[in-house]
């Protein structure tokens, strides 16, 4: 796809992520600064997105360490539960705001990271208490998956196509549906969908499938970021790209924790 052709295509689009006004805003930025060509300081770059991902990761670790320490000091899950549930809910709200108001990503993405960190620190503490050493395993495997898939993507070994996008998005939605049905069943006291949480072969197989789908979502994130920087998307899209990577990483980490817990409980 030539750059010019791609710009024409993007210009016609109505996609909320990379739509026509994304590029007109970018062009306005160039005009206001008197420049003709886009420069790195005005448009989305790979370096900028990587840096912002680093900032979000640091914020997650910072707030997670707070609830982690609080949990191990008190030794009581009840002491961190309000912060964990509050963090998850506030994080969800900031995630929705970021998705619908991408221009605000520079503020809402760091707030999302801080809120999710509170949740992750508490959950990780509870898992660590039950299965010592599980958290460092999950962190290592999650970041290992991130680096491996980035290598496979950059070298062109894994090539995301429209069909790939359809399959991964559908599978992600399917998993979401299953979790939702299980949650609703739990609320009505029927115990949810048993195999999702079981440590039997099917439960472990299901967790492996979910981990694989979460990992494949990373490839979609890499492609989105790569194309955004190629097309000269506005600077705030660096925060949005880092945010989408962070959402996938947090999901992958939680699924790794569940998978490892199932394996350790056998």
């Amino acid at each position: 796809m030539s750059k010019h052709g791609a710009l024409n295509t993007f210009g016609r689009s109505g996609n909320p992520a990379l739509r026509a006004d994304t590029f007109s805003q970018s062009a306005q930025g160039n005009r206001s600064s008197g420049g003709i060509q886009a420069t790195d300081s005005q448009t989305m770059t790979l370096q900028g997105t990587v840096n912002k991902t680093g900032i979000l990761l640091a914020l997650v670790v910072l707030s997670a360490s707070y609830t982690w320490n609080l949990f191990f000091q008190s030794g009581d899950a009840g002491a961190v539960m309000p912060l964990a549930i509050g963090g998850a809910l506030i994080g969800f709200i900031f995630a929705l705001v970021t998705i619908f108001k991408k221009q605000w990503s520079g503020i809402t993405a760091p707030l999302y990271a801080l809120a999710e960190g509170l949740f992750l620190g508490a959950i990780s503490g509870i898992f660590e208490m039950q299965y010592p050493g599980i958290v460092i395993q999950a962190v290592g495997l999650t970041l290992g998956t991130l680096a491996s898939l980035l290598f496979l993507y950059k070298t062109g070994i894994v090539k995301p196509t429209e069909n790939f996008r359809l399959m991964v998005t559908s599978a992600t939605m399917g998993i979401g549906l299953l979790y939702l049905v299980s949650m609703v069943m739990n609320m009505f006291g029927s115990g949810g969908i048993g195999f999702i949480h079981s440590n039997g072969l099917f439960g472990i197989g299901f967790s492996l499938f979910v981990v694989a789908i979460a990992a494949l979502n990373l490839v979609l994130d890499f492609d989105f970021i790569e194309q955004g920087s190629e097309m000269g998307a506005p600077k705030y899209m660096e925060w949005f790209g880092a945010f989408s990577l962070m959402v996938t990483l947090i999901w992958l980490y939680l699924e790794m924790l569940r998978l490892l817990a199932k394996l350790r409980s056998r």
Binding site: M1, T9, F10, R12, S13, N15, A17, L18, R19, L46, Q47, T49, V50, T53, G54, G133, I136, Q137, V139, G140, L141, L143, G144, L146, A147, S148, L150, F151, Y153, K154, T155, G156, K159, P160, T161, E162, F164, R165, L166, M167, T169, S170, A171, M173, G174, G176, L177, L178, V181, F195, F202, F206, L220, F222, D223, F224, E226, Q227, G228, E230
Partner: protein, 68 residues
């Protein structure tokens, strides 16, 4: 420091270093110069189709469970 922390901790640090180093570079031409790249400006498949596929997956899993 036990072996578990050493192995997985090193894995995390090395992976982060790879991410921050590799992430700065453009993907290879094998990745970028293809006709079948995803067009992030348009959605080729409707949300209904995605939902239908998701439903097929859920029903498939439930059916498999029935036979196990």
């Amino acid at each position: 420091m036990d072996a578990n922390s050493l192995i997985f901790g090193s894995m995390a640090v090395i992976s982060l270093a790879i991410f921050f180093y590799l992430g700065r570079f453009k993907a290879s031409s094998k990745q970028t110069d293809r006709e079948d790249r995803i067009d992030w400006s348009t959605r080729q498949f409707s949300l209904w189709k995605i939902f239908l596929y998701a439903l097929v997956l859920v029903v498939g899993i439930v059916l498999v469970l029935q036979f196990i």
